[in-house]
């Protein structure tokens, strides 16, 4: 499997990444793309920016490990993950997952698997910076018990 993982502050271009991945995808019959954007949130005080932090080296290795798990479960021929860090304004792209696979079912499933992982287990930490100058680190949600459980293993 071709696999390219990047954590970066710069934005990315979905179209360019899709073209680049297709060049690595062999005779894949399906390509699924997921792009996530920063939401403005429904707080009393509007969000000025999300600030994301990662652990250089460790975060990329963890994402690669889970991409290889996905490739073991579904016939993935190529994958591209870009996750942004630093200060991101509402509306900006924050994450990109591209999966090329033989057929659509595997491509959809692998893309969802990777996104679920990125949301709940990948080493990223998110701080909300509000327009009034205040900020707070986002706490792990009670609904993320499953994710917390993995941290206890």
């Amino acid at each position: 499997m071709y696999c390219d993982i990047t954590v970066q502050t710069a934005t990315f271009d979905l179209g360019a990444e899709e073209l680049a991945l297709r060049a690595q995808a062999g005779d894949a019959g399906a390509l699924v793309a997921f792009q996530g954007m920063v939401r403005a949130h429904d707080e009393a005080v509007p969000l000025a920016a999300l600030f994301l932090e990662h652990y250089p080296g460790v975060t990329e290795a963890e994402i690669r490990r889970i991409a290889e798990q996905a490739a073991a479960r579904w016939p993935v021929s190529a994958c591209r993950v870009i996750h942004r860090v630093g200060a991101l304004a509402p509306g900006e792209p924050i994450v990109l997952v591209l999966i090329a696979a033989g057929h659509r079912a595997g491509a959809f499933a692998a893309a969802e698997y990777l996104m679920d992982y990125l949301k709940t287990q990948a080493p990223f930490w998110k701080r909300e910076d509000f327009v009034d100058g205040s900020s707070r680190w986002v706490e792990a949600k009670a609904s993320d018990d499953a994710a917390c459980g993995r941290w206890h293993d």
């Binding site: 930490w125 680190w137 792990a140």
Partner: protein
Amino acid sequence: MSITLLYFGVLKDTLGCSTETLAWDGGTTATLLDLLRGRGEDWALALAPGKVFRLVVNQQIVRGDAAIPEGAEVGILPPVTGG
């Protein structure tokens, strides 16, 4: 000899530091946590045994008690909130 500690996310604010060099005579992750918890109430609370956090030694995520060699880089990670 010494080790380098890296703190991430909310721990930077609650502990008031992002990185430090710590004198180290050898030991394990349990040794290190006992030492850090002994620094005061903030540290004891933030790194309490029931708290959910994880240690990384030389870029490898640690499960259970693990040796920390001299010169190691040790990351202390709060629960992830990414994506």
